[in-house]
């Protein structure tokens, strides 16, 4: 078993016996369930009026995608809160030395921490997807669009998890690490807001923004350029976190 997978499994086990990840998951799912029921109620009231239109949006557009979009927004806060302890928490508890002294290199440590965080987020995505999928018993869902939205969410979660691990490597104070990660996430979310107000929608600044690449997935469009953006963002953050871990070894 690779060291990264070993660390990921170990971190998932530690999450499973801790209150914090369960509390965050419970709060997130409760919020999503409430939003799901509100959206469903709204759709049921609107359905008779939509019935006469040929290209009217369906239950996937009006119930499923908004729920998943809400989860994407929650991830901006949730993943930093969960990932803040990845490295900062180990440093604070003086247990990072266990990993640094184990003879496994810095990259597997970072990869393991990231993988655990990402798998946790994937579990949440699966549970969030189960809500709209439960409607399949009584209506027809656009499964392709749902799959695209799920893929977009998974890619976004991977990139945010990598940013959270990097932020966690910058401090030995988990709260400070979470604040850095939230700030980075918000920056990436609104970085092109000014340009959009000016009517610029196709510049470099737009390319850097998270929503530019997430929204197509919610419309059912899977483009390699969008997937590549999330992959590059994750790779960059993981590379920086690995360098930072090496620097911690040098700086003391």
């Amino acid at each position: 078993m690779s060291a990264a997978w070993l660390i990921a499994r170990h971190d998932l086990r530690r999450m499973a016996v801790s209150v914090w990840p369960w509390a965050l998951a419970a709060a997130t799912l409760a919020l999503l369930a409430y939003y799901f029921l509100l959206s469903l109620d709204g759709f049921l009231q609107l359905a008779p009026k939509l019935a006469g239109h040929a290209d009217a949006p369906g239950v996937t557009d009006l119930v499923a995608v908004p729920v998943l979009r809400t989860l994407a927004n929650l991830f901006l806060l949730l993943i930093p809160l969960l990932g803040m302890r990845a490295i900062a928490g180990e440093r604070r508890a003086h247990s990072l030395v266990l990993l640094l002294g184990a003879g496994i290199g810095d990259a597997p440590i970072v990869l393991g921490k990231w993988l655990a965080l990402w798998l946790y987020a994937l579990a949440l995505i699966a549970l969030a997807l189960a809500m709209p999928l439960s409607l399949a018993a009584g209506t027809t869902l656009d499964v392709g669009k749902l799959a695209a939205a799920g893929l977009g969410l998974a890619l976004q979660a991977g990139a945010l998890a990598a940013l959270a691990v990097y932020a966690s490597s910058l401090s030995d104070q988990p709260a400070f690490a979470a604040a850095i990660a939230v700030a980075l996430n918000l920056l990436l979310t609104v970085i092109d807001a000014g340009a959009r107000l000016q009517g610029v929608g196709n510049g470099l600044i737009n390319y850097l923004a998270l929503p530019t690449h997430l929204e197509p997935f919610f419309r059912g469009i899977v483009a390699s350029v969008d997937a590549l953006y999330f992959a590059l963002l994750a790779l960059l953050a993981l590379g920086l976190a690995t360098r930072r871990l090496g620097a911690l070894r040098s700086l003391g």
Partner: protein, 271 residues
Amino acid sequence: MPAADRPVKAASTGDLAPRRARGNNRGPVTEPAAAPPLLQLHAVSRSLAGRAVLCELALELRRGEVLGLLGVNGAGKSTTLRVIAGVLAPDSGSVRLDGTDLYDAPERARRGIGYLPERAPLHAELSVSEYLGFCARLRGLDRAAARTAVAREIARCDLGEVQRRLVGQLSKGFQQRVGLAQALLHAPALVVLDEPASGLDPVQAVRMRELVRGLREQQGVILSTHQLAEAQAACDRVAILHGGRLCHIGAPDADLEARFLRIAAGAAEAA
């Protein structure tokens, strides 16, 4: 400061020669004269926050030997051990384990080291056996070997009665023993212990000393301590550090306390 207590550049080979049966069968295990030292520090220097913490430190340790690092607070004991354990890179100089430079082949070399830092690196939310199982797998043992190693160290460190309890709920003494067990799981050639008896009651401290003595049957041990009595009881040789420099190295003889106090007083005067 008497000449004998001035900083020494390197441990003399006379000090390093295997000594046999100094009483109570405490002499280091004899090994062939041609064998390289298990651990060799050559001119290791390290600064932290702009302050020189280690200055051209040179030390050697042979297999089957227990070397104690003595010194007042800030002498550089913990930094020396962190450098040896591979968790803090030196600014200059080299650390060799069994002839291999620790920082040239860090991952392989670290597998040969078991390290217990001043604060044991524990995961409080897991049970003792779960935590030790993870540590064993992390050091490259397969599932079956890890199970065997965990059982062995639980027995050796007297952790049987608490193996199912959460690490965070244990007393300081038990936590220290769990920390020692994690350092021994992979049967490392070199065991590095930073203040292993810190926070232990007298009975636990004696038990820890016995454990350390038992390790030298197969391993080399380097430990730091504030306590002269502990150094005299557990170590074959003692190195006294002050200001990051090696001031004395030799057997823990009856003159050790006077020498230690002289070095500390001399350094205080110089400061």
